[in-house]
């Protein structure tokens, strides 16, 4: 597989064509909600992402109950936001923080992937972005949606305390 094919894996092209969570959804119910607008100033790519956080129930932890977003950008930024939406929905905030850190590690791996197989497996389809990490100029594209998620969680107040 060429570097280009490693970067544009079929799963990425599919997500880019049919993104998950696209179209902002109003957040209902008694949970917390946050919204963030992120821009990649070098190329003008944008994403507006809204997150809903369900309160802890039965002694459990609060979870991400919904992610919706609107954006324009390259196939990498669109697919990454789509894959992330699937990956984090239903996860606890701690799990989401770990996934975020793991994905950042993957993006810093210069195409080599992670040594930790369990960590890599935890990313699911997001491991398909390993090839992107060979291209420094494109890493920001893959991280745009993640930045919006982190910021919208912060804005929701769910991370407080």
């Amino acid at each position: 597989m060429s570097s280009l094919e490693q970067m544009y894996q079929q799963v990425i092209l599919d997500h880019a064509k049919h993104p998950h969570g696209r179209g902002l959804v109003a957040v209902a119910g008694d949970g917390l909600a946050g919204e963030s607008h992120q821009v990649n100033p070098t190329c003008g790519d944008e994403v507006t992402l809204r997150v809903a956080v369900a309160p802890a129930a039965d002694g459990g932890a609060p979870t991400v109950s919904g992610v919706s977003w609107e954006g324009q950008g390259c196939s990498i930024s669109q697919a990454s936001t789509s894959v992330m939406t699937e990956l984090v929905t239903g996860r606890t905030l701690d799990e989401v923080a770990r996934l975020d850190a793991t994905f950042h590690d993957l993006m810093a791996s210069r195409g080599k992937g992670l040594d930790d197989e369990d960590a890599e497996d935890s990313l699911g389809d997001a491991t398909a972005f390993t090839g992107v990490s060979q291209y420094p100029a494109r890493i920001k594209c893959a991280l745009l949606g993640w930045a919006a998620l982190k910021d919208s969680l912060a804005r929701s107040g769910a991370l407080a305390g």
């Binding site: 060429s2 570097s3 280009l4 970067m7 544009y8 092209l13 880019a16 064509k17 070098t42 190329c43 003008g44 790519d45 944008e46 324009q72 950008g73 390259c74 196939s75 990498i76 291209y135 494109r138 594209c141």
Partner: protein, 438 residues
């Protein structure tokens, strides 16, 4: 050099340009021989962002450091004399190249710095610096500054900031659907209130050449100062600033085959004489006491601190090299390459942002591909060794005008070949299939 004769910039168009051996020209650029992305021959189509450098420019910098490096305009030793001579000879070469007098050329780190220098000089004059003779640079509330929607951010943001500091109002000309300046409301936009008209000679996105004479005449009628962003024109067209009649012009060396870190501000002598300094410090003064300072005449008044001497020398050599190549020949070559680039408009799904004819336009061609983002277009081309620019090219308002966030851009220079553009077109034709775009 490869020309059999020399054509001076600004020569009449009827002059028959001597045949230039463009492949020999290309051989002067060592970087172009390298391969990229696993052994592919580089096809460099990003010269509008920054141009590659011929051997003579590289050698000039090395030679300066190896043989003549010293502080200029001070010191009584021989090296200081030689360094100063090289520095000032470079000023003469750059001035000659653009039809200016040497005293009208101020070194700047680049065009961005040069444009900011003019904007901040207006600010300083408005704050009372420069005295009565700086009246031409004083802005009052209600005064207007005119730009265009096609500007590079470097010729837009400094004027926005100047307006914010002084209370002046920013106005602008729009752009037509084919990417040319829309001057249909010329007399409504440039009025008695207009104090500055700042515009790009050639758009770095559409490649369109602005009607300089029309804008200069309108500005003169109302006594406004004209500021020309000549970054894209100076490397590719014969430019005679005296003939164009603009008051100020800015251009960067790195786009005209010269080094990074240096550029020039041209100012008409009487305006530079009247303009207050911006960056202050060493080398730009006459008499300094603990109470006050008097300033050197231009251009030194605007060249505070140690200058980028080796780079200026390199810029002078680049100017001379282009001059000897003959800017009429360069412009004709550019026209041919523009025609080759514009053939991408025939590829299904490709839309060019800018004029489709080669009249009054350069070989800078921005485009979008239906269903494929510019970054993805650039990546597929890069995989074939083809370097293009992707993004908004520092012209967000212009992109917004065309309803796109980003475009890809291919641009040519003296070393670009038709074969390279053919390879680019072939690669571009395959992009939509790669992404399964319908």
């Amino acid at each position: 050099m490869t020309t059999t004769d020399t054509v001076r910039a600004g020569a009449p168009e009827t002059t028959t340009a001597p045949a230039v051996d463009w492949s020999a020209v290309r051989a002067d650029f060592p970087l172009l021989a390298r391969t990229v992305r696993g052994g592919r021959q580089l096809v460099y189509l990003d010269s509008a962002a920054t141009a590659q450098k011929p051997n003579v420019v590289l050698e000039a910098e090395v030679d300066f450091y190896e043989q003549r490096n010293a502080a200029v305009h001070r010191g009584a030793h021989q090296l200081a004399e030689e360094a100063t001579e090289a520095f000032e000879d470079a000023r003469v070469a750059v001035a000659t190249f653009v039809g200016a007098d040497p005293g009208e050329i101020v070194w700047a780190p680049g065009a961005t710095a040069a444009l900011n220098l003019v904007a901040y000089a207006f600010s300083n004059a408005t704050a009372g610096r420069g005295g009565a003779r700086a009246e031409r640079f004083v802005l009052r509330p209600g005064d207007e500054i005119v730009v265009t929607e096609a500007e590079h951010h470097a010729n837009l943001v400094p004027w926005q900031e100047l307006c914010a500091r002084t209370g002046a109002v920013l106005r602008w000309f729009g752009v037509t659907d084919d990417g040319r300046l829309d001057l249909s409301d010329l007399d409504a936009v440039i009025t008695e209130r207009t104090r500055v008209v700042a515009f790009g000679h050639v758009s770095n996105v559409t490649g369109a050449v602005a009607p300089v004479a029309t804008l200069v005449e309108a500005a003169r009628r109302v006594g406004a100062v004209t500021v020309l962003d000549a970054c894209q024109s100076v490397p590719n067209l014969p430019v005679d600033l005296h003939a164009l009649g603009v008051d100020f012009a800015a251009f960067s060396a790195h786009k005209m085959l010269g080094p990074t870190g240096v550029g020039a501000l041209y100012g008409r002598r009487e305006l530079l004489e009247a303009m207050p300094p911006v960056t202050t410090g060493g080398s730009m003064v006459e008499v300094v006491t603990m109470q006050e300072t008097t300033y050197a005449p231009p251009p030194q008044r605007f060249e505070a601190g140690t200058q980028m001497v080796a780079q200026a020398v390199g810029m002078g050599v680049a100017a001379q090299w282009l001059d000897e190549l003959g800017m009429d020949a360069v412009a004709e070559h550019e026209r041919q390459l523009a025609a080759e680039l514009l053939k991408i408009a025939d590829i299904p799904g490709v839309r060019v942002i800018g004029p489709l004819d080669t009249a009054d336009r350069l070989a800078v061609v921005s485009f979008v591909v239906d269903g494929v983002h510019a970054h993805d277009v650039g990546q597929v081309l890069d995989d074939k060794g083809i370097a293009v620019r992707v993004g908004h090219h520092c012209a967000q308002p212009l992109h917004r005008r065309f309803g796109v966030a980003a475009t890809a851009r291919a641009s040519a220079s003296v070393y670009t070949t038709v074969e390279e553009i053919v390879a680019f077109r072939e690669a571009l034709a395959g992009v939509r299939a790669f992404f399964g775009a319908e």
